[in-house]
């Protein structure tokens, strides 16, 4: 009984000592969960676009940007503004508001840096993944290249070759830069961009440049309608590229004067996005300890983490987990007055996002563990330092908690990514008689009609990106 009372007193004392900590911890937890980060901020627009309601998505994007209309730009931009402008630009493009979409893309393009983790020490990865949501987002290489690619579509759909060629050149500059910092797997993302560069230069009356870009698209793995596009260009403009030597003999044909060309671009589905995920410490140590993975946990840190885990100091780690977006399968078709156009998937952004994420997953979890270890140690140091400064246990504890709280807040995973990016890009190509035509695009059980004017010898581009 006595022992029980002693135990009770001890528990009570512990309770009294812990009360400020508990209250502050609850407040901090509320603060951290209250600021749901980018994922929470863009949840509305992502869901609206995902249900093919781009007008609602636009209203949500404006709300997230703190403006009341699509023409407006935020008066006080913050760290999320460039990425939110990319989201709004994508939505505006889906609505066919190409000029406004270009403006938003261009502003964002100048502010978004590329994430370069070539020499990725865990510290750098950790900074990117956890503390940097207070700074401007650093785009993944595939996102940066797609930004120019998707903006090129804005100009192509309006028939503005000059602007499309500017975006094509910007794509080339980024491509050259990214080729230095990414490996060969990145090549797959270049085929669509290079193909559209070719279309831009063909539209701008520079066939020799165009065929060079088509050649680059071929080198990067090609796109479904590449050979038809190149055969048509070669027959009309008498240009050639060694990479299409076989094609020239096989498919070269005499140009027909009253024929024009149509390229249909369909962007459907939603790319995977990131959510904050809590992972038990044991599972986290296992997932991050593969020495063959980039930024894996060092043996010393593994031992430290296991020690802290056994003491019960570390229980969970937070990291940005990639979750599925919307996949539309392959049921996409385009036809003009009953004539089916050749079509196929040119790029799968979902695969690119997953590949990029998987490459750094172990490193991300390792970085989360290292940050947590640092936090635990810094919390202790803060408490000791506070005690010395104030000679008061309670004040010292508060300072220690403030340090720990600050580190907890900083450990909120950065869930930013281009969430409105379509999952897949389809291309359809064909030739039509000069004049007005109706193009019908089907994605699953939804259809869209677009009117186009075909001019002899010229390419018209149709974009459909409002069916997700």
């Amino acid at each position: 009984m006595k022992a029980g009372r002693v135990r009770f007193v001890a528990d009570s004392r512990t309770y009294q000592r812990r009360r400020p900590r508990s209250v502050i911890s609850v407040l901090l937890a509320l603060l951290v969960t209250g600021c749901g980060g980018y994922m929470a901020k863009t949840d509305g627009l992502r869901k609206a676009l995902g249900t093919s309601a781009p007008n609602d998505a636009l209203a949500e994007a404006n709300k997230a940007l703190g403006v009341d209309k699509a023409e407006a730009l935020p008066r006080k931009p913050n760290a999320d503004t460039p990425l939110l402008l990319v989201e709004r630009a994508t939505i505006l493009q889906a609505l066919g508001r190409y000029k406004e979409s270009s403006r938003d893309f261009q502003i964002a393009d100048k502010q978004l840096d590329v994430l370069d983790l070539t020499d990725d020490a865990t510290g750098k990865l950790a900074k990117y993944l956890f503390s940097d949501d207070a700074t401007i987002y650093k785009a993944a290489p595939y996102e940066k290249l797609l930004l120019n690619t998707v903006n090129m579509i804005n100009y192509l759909a309006r028939g503005e070759s000059s602007g499309a060629m500017v975006e094509a050149r910007r794509f080339l500059v980024n491509r050259r830069y990214l080729e230095r910092i990414t490996d060969n797997r990145a090549k797959s993302m270049l085929a669509l961009g290079s193909y559209l560069c070719g279309i831009a230069f063909e539209m701008g009356g520079e066939p020799q440049q165009a065929i060079r870009h088509y050649g680059d698209a071929l080198d990067a793995g090609g796109v479904p309608v590449l050979s038809e596009t190149v055969a048509s260009l070669m027959s009309r403009k008498r240009v050639q590229d060694g990479r299409f030597a076989g094609l020239r003999t096989a498919k070269n044909e005499e140009p027909v004067s009253d024929i024009g060309y149509v390229l249909v671009i369909v962007q459907a589905g939603m790319t995977p996005y990131k959510i904050p995920e809590r992972l038990p410490i044991g599972a986290a140590i296992v997932a991050s300890s593969d020495p063959n993975r980039r930024g894996a946990l060092s043996p010393a840190d593994q031992r430290r983490a296991q020690r802290f885990a056994l003491k019960g100091v570390l229980k969970w780690v937070n990291y940005p987990k990639l979750v599925r977006g919307i996949s539309r399968g392959t049921q996409v078709s385009a036809d003009v007055e009953g004539q089916r156009l050749l079509a196929g998937v040119a790029f799968d952004a979902g695969v690119a996002a997953k590949t990029h994420h998987d490459e750094y997953k172990a490193g991300m979890i390792a970085a989360a563990i290292v940050r947590l270890l640092t936090r635990a140690i810094a919390g202790g140091i803060g408490e000791a330092a506070g005690k010395k400064l104030t000679n008061s246990g309670i004040a010292g504890l508060l300072i220690g908690l403030a340090v720990e709280g600050a580190m907890t807040a900083a450990d909120t995973p950065d869930t930013r990514s281009w969430v409105t990016l379509p999952r897949r890009f389809w291309l359809a190509y064909g030739h039509l008689n000069a004049g007005e035509h109706l193009v019908r695009v089907r994605v699953g059980n939804q259809a869209r009609m677009r009117k186009i004017a075909i001019k002899p010898g010229q390419i018209s581009v149709v974009n459909v990106s409002d069916i997700r």
Binding site: D113, S162, G163, V166, R169, V173, Y177, E206, T390
Partner: protein, 203 residues
């Protein structure tokens, strides 16, 4: 001890207030003479356009074709000139700036009194057609064809292109403005010059 804590919080408060006090304000170039001297982007601003323009205009002023036009002017003959367009072959969306550059060139030529400048607005549809095939406008044959259609003796064309490089956060854009005067009848190049400037983003 209390004093030290109060001082610490006071210092933090002061830092916060200093950090938040910088409110942006609109200014006039006449009030802030240095305003035009700062580069705010790697695009072209007024100062860059003036530099590119001045260099090419100076070269044209000193050229043989200008001396010929002056001589004709004294003999009561007038050369008719049109400026077709300056093709944007850069990595920047600067079509608006190029139109400004073109207008400056046109204004200077018109005010020189040596040549008769054909108003571009009068040839809008032809120019629009050439814009559809931008590079074609710079091609001597096509420019000569355009000149014949407009009914001028000389046509001025140009192109602005860039060499754009990037490394990490750093970026360098080298601009080259290439301009030429073509004789419509023969397609011969009577003057050409290239002006250049570099802009960059450095850490």
């Amino acid at each position: 001890m209390k004093l030290r804590i109060i001082s610490l919080f006071a210092a933090i408060g002061l830092l916060f207030s200093l950090g938040c006090s910088g409110q942006p304000a609109f200014v006039r170039g006449s009030d802030v003479p240095e305003l035009d001297n700062f580069a705010l982007s790697t695009g072209l601003d007024k100062k860059d356009l003036e530099r590119l323009f001045n260099e090419n205009a100076k070269s044209l002023q000193e050229s043989g074709i200008m001396r010929k036009w002056k001589r004709w002017s004294m003999e009561d003959k007038e050369a008719s000139v049109s400026i077709s367009q300056i093709a944007n072959q850069t990595t920047e969306h600067i079509d608006g700036e190029l139109k400004t550059l073109l207008s400056k060139f046109e204004t200077q030529l018109a005010n020189s009194g040596f040549v008769r400048v054909i108003d571009q607005a009068a040839q809008l549809s032809l120019i629009e057609n050439m814009k559809k095939q931008q590079s074609a406008a710079f091609d001597p044959d096509n420019a000569a064809q355009l000149g014949k259609a407009i009914g001028v003796k000389y046509i001025i064309t140009g192109k602005l292109y860039t060499n754009d490089e990037k490394s990490g956060r750093e970026r360098r854009v080298q601009y080259f403005l290439f301009m030429r005067v073509l004789e419509v009848e023969t397609g011969a190049v009577r003057w050409q010059n290239e002006a250049n400037l570099t802009k960059g983003l450095i850490n």
